[in-house]
C-alpha cells in the first residue's frame, strides 16, 4: 500500500484509486485498416516494466478524475504525477539497474547482485 497525491484532492491512500494500466497507448486512428497483429499489439501487449513505468490512475473513490503517474514498480515509489495528455516526464537519476535493482529495504525480491549505490 502506498499514498497517491491526487492533483485535485491531495494525498490519499492507494485503495481510493484504480489503476488504468500503461499510459500513452494511443487508440489507432484507422481501425478498419489494422492487421490482427496491430490490434493485438494495441489491445494486449504491455511493457510491464520493472523500474520506472508511466501509468494512468483514476481517483475512483474520490473526485473520479484521471491523471498520469510515473512510478517505480520495483519499489512502488511515485516519482511524478502529471496531467492526462501531457508527455511523459524525463526522469533523471534513474539509477535503478533492472532487472533486479531493488533496494534492500521494502522489497522481498532482493537480487543477490545488488550493490548499494
Amino acid at each position: 500500500m502506498f499514498l497517491i497525491n491526487c492533483p485535485y484532492c491531495g494525498e490519499r491512500e492507494q485503495a481510493e484509486f484504480s489503476c488504468g494500466g500503461e499510459a500513452h497507448i494511443v487508440r489507432p486512428k484507422n481501425p478498419p485498416e489494422l492487421t490482427d497483429d496491430q490490434w493485438s499489439e494495441y489491445l494486449f501487449m504491455r511493457k510491464n516494466i520493472k523500474g520506472i513505468q508511466f501509468e494512468r490512475w483514476n481517483h475512483s473513490n474520490g473526485c473520479r478524475r484521471w491523471f498520469n503517474v510515473a512510478r517505480n514498480t520495483a519499489t512502488d515509489e511515485i516519482l511524478k504525477i502529471y496531467n492526462m495528455g501531457e508527455k511523459p516526464p524525463n526522469i533523471s537519476g534513474d539509477a535503478l539497474d533492472t532487472p533486479s535493482g531493488e533496494p534492500e529495504i521494502g522489497s522481498g525480491n532482493i537480487s543477490t547482485t545488488y550493490t548499494k549505490k
Binding site: L43, N48, S100, T113
Partner: protein
C-alpha cells in the same frame, strides 16, 4: 559422474535416527556453470525444475542447466496456497490441468520424495443465482470432459464441511457448491526440492544465485545467455520466470500481454484439525484450507496495479479476512502469524502462454498468474516436449502466443472460479 542420491525409506529414516539426523547429505549439487549446454532453463521455480526433469527423463537430454537468480522455489512456487484442481471450464484448460492432476497422483512415488499431496477435495461455493448458474455450467462441462465434479446443495455443503456457516441470513448465503474430490493440496517446497533432486540425479546442473541479465541472439537464433556468473551458451533456452517474464522478454524485444501484480497470502497460528477440505469462493473472494501443521492457509486477491515489490495493500488482506470470517465465524478470534506476497504474471484471458517465439530456440512458459502451482508437473511435461521437438505438445498447442492475434483466447476469467 556424481553420487546417486540415497533412496528415502523407513530404513534410511531409522538409520539416520541413530545419528540424531545429523548425517543427511545435500540432495543436489551446486555446480559452477559449464560454458555450454544442450538446453538452459531460466527460472528455478517448480515449472522450471519440472521442465528440466522431463527434458532429461522423457527426451534424453543430458546437458541441461537451470539458472535461478535466487534460491530454487523461492518465487511463487514457495509462496502460493497450494490448491490443486482441474475443474476448469474450457476443453483446452480441462485437458491441460487434468493431465497435471494425474501426474500429481503419482508424484511422491515417482520422485521418492514425499510431496504431501492430499486429495481432500476442493469446494467452490455459490452465493447468488449467477454463481449457481456459472458453477452448474462448469459442473456439466467438467463431466463432459471426464473430470470428476459434483454439485452439492446447501445441506450437502454443510454435511461435507460442518463448520461452514450456511445460515440464510448472512450477506452472501451459501446456495450450493461444486466439489472436485480428486482436488486438494500439496507441500510446495517439497515439489521444488523433489524435482530438483530428481533432475540433479539425471545430471541437470542447478545453478542458484545466478541472475540472467541478457539473452544473446544471432540471425534470429538464440545462442546463449549473459548471467552474473558469466556467459553460458546454448541454442535452446526456455524462460520460466513467472512474474519476471516480461523483464526477460524485454531483453530481446519480445512483446508479452502480461502484467505483473502482487498476490498475497497469510497463515494463522496452528490449531487442531478443523477443516479437512479446501473451500473457495469467487464472489466474496476467499479461499482457505488447513495445512498439516494446523495453520489456516488463506489466499487474498491481487492488487490492482503492476508491482514487483512482493508486498501488497492491507485493504486486500482485510477484504479476504472479512469474507473468511463470514463463512467461518469460528475463525474470528484466530491470530494470523505470517503474511507475504508473490508477483504473479497475469494474462488477459487468465490462461498461460507455453509457446515458441519468433526467435528460434527461445521458448516462453509464463502467464500462469494466480493459478499455476496446480499445473507444475504438467507444465514442465509439455514445455519439455516443446523445447525438445521445437513444436508444442498437443496439450499446449492452444496456449501459444499467437492466440492474442488470432483471437482464439482461452478465456478462463470468472469461468474457472477464483483463479487459483
Amino acid at each position: 559422474m556424481h553420487k546417486k542420491p540415497i533412496k528415502y525409506s523407513v530404513f534410511s529414516l531409522f538409520k539416520n535416527a541413530l545419528s540424531y539426523h545429523e548425517n543427511w547429505q545435500p540432495v543436489w549439487r551446486s555446480p559452477a556453470p559449464k560454458t555450454e549446454y544442450d538446453a538452459i532453463i531460466i527460472g528455478g521455480g517448480g515449472h522450471g525444475l519440472t521442465t528440466a526433469y522431463y527434458l532429461a527423463k522423457n527426451h534424453g537430454l543430458t546437458k541441461i542447466a537451470v539458472v535461478e537468480k535466487g534460491w530454487i522455489g523461492l518465487g511463487n512456487t514457495g509462496r502460493n496456497t497450494t490448491i490443486i484442481r482441474s475443474n476448469y471450464l474450457w476443453d483446452q484448460s480441462a485437458r491441460l490441468y487434468d493431465h497435471a492432476l494425474k501426474l500429481w497422483e503419482g508424484m511422491s512415488q515417482e520422485l521418492n520424495f514425499n510431496v504431501m499431496f492430499s486429495q481432500r477435495g476442493v469446494m467452490n461455493v455459490a452465493h447468488n443465482l449467477h454463481d449457481v448458474r456459472e458453477l452448474k455450467r462448469r459442473w456439466h462441462a467438467n463431466r463432459l470432459n471426464d473430470i470428476d465434479c459434483e454439485w452439492l446443495n446447501t445441506k450437502q455443503v454443510k454435511e461435507f464441511c460442518p463448520i461452514i456457516n450456511t445460515s440464510p441470513n448472512i450477506r452472501y448465503p451459501v446456495l450450493g457448491a461444486t466439489l472436485q474430490r480428486r482436488a486438494g493440496t500439496a507441500r510446495h517446497d517439497a515439489v521444488a526440492w523433489g524435482y530438483a533432486r530428481g533432475a540433479d540425479a539425471m545430471g541437470v546442473d542447478i545453478i542458484q544465485n545466478c541472475e540472467v541479465t541478457g539473452i544473446n541472439v544471432q540471425n534470429g537464433n538464440v545462442t546463449g545467455i549473459e548471467t552474473t556468473k558469466g556467459r553460458i551458451n546454448s541454442n535452446r533456452i526456455g524462460v520460466v520466470a513467472a512474474g519476471h517474464s516480461s523483464v526477460i522478454a524485454n531483453m530481446v524485444g519480445i512483446r508479452l500481454p502480461i502484467e505483473s501484480r502482487p498476490l498475497q497470502a497469510l497463515v494463522s497460528e496452528p490449531v487442531k484439525p478443523i477443516l479437512d477440505t479446501v473451500v473457495m469462493s469467487n464472489t466474496i473472494h476467499a479461499y482457505v484450507s488447513q495445512s498439516d501443521k494446523g495453520e489456516l492457509v488463506i489466499g487474498a486477491g491481487t492488487d490492482g496495479y503492476t508491482s514487483y515489490t512482493q508486498r501488497g495493500g492491507f485493504n486486500i488482506v482485510e477484504d479476504t479476512i472479512m469474507a473468511v470470517v463470514e463463512l467461518f465465524p469460528l475463525f474470528s478470534r484466530m491470530k494470523m502469524l505470517r503474511h507475504w506476497g508473490g508477483i504473479v504474471d497475469i494474462c488477459p484471458d487468465a490462461s498461460p502462454i507455453i509457446s515458441k517465439t519468433h526467435i528460434k530456440g527461445l521458448y516462453f512458459n509464463c502467464g500462469w498468474g494466480t493459478g499455476g502451482f496446480k499445473a507444475t508437473p504438467g507444465s514442465g511435461w509439455v514445455f519439455a516436449h516443446t523445447i525438445a521437438n521445437d513444436q508444442p505438445h498437443i496439450l499446449n498447442a492452444p496456449f501459444n502466443i499467437n492466440r492474442f492475434s488470432s483471437g482464439e483466447l482461452v478465456d478462463e476469467h470468472g469461468a474457472a472460479a477464483v483463479a487459483h
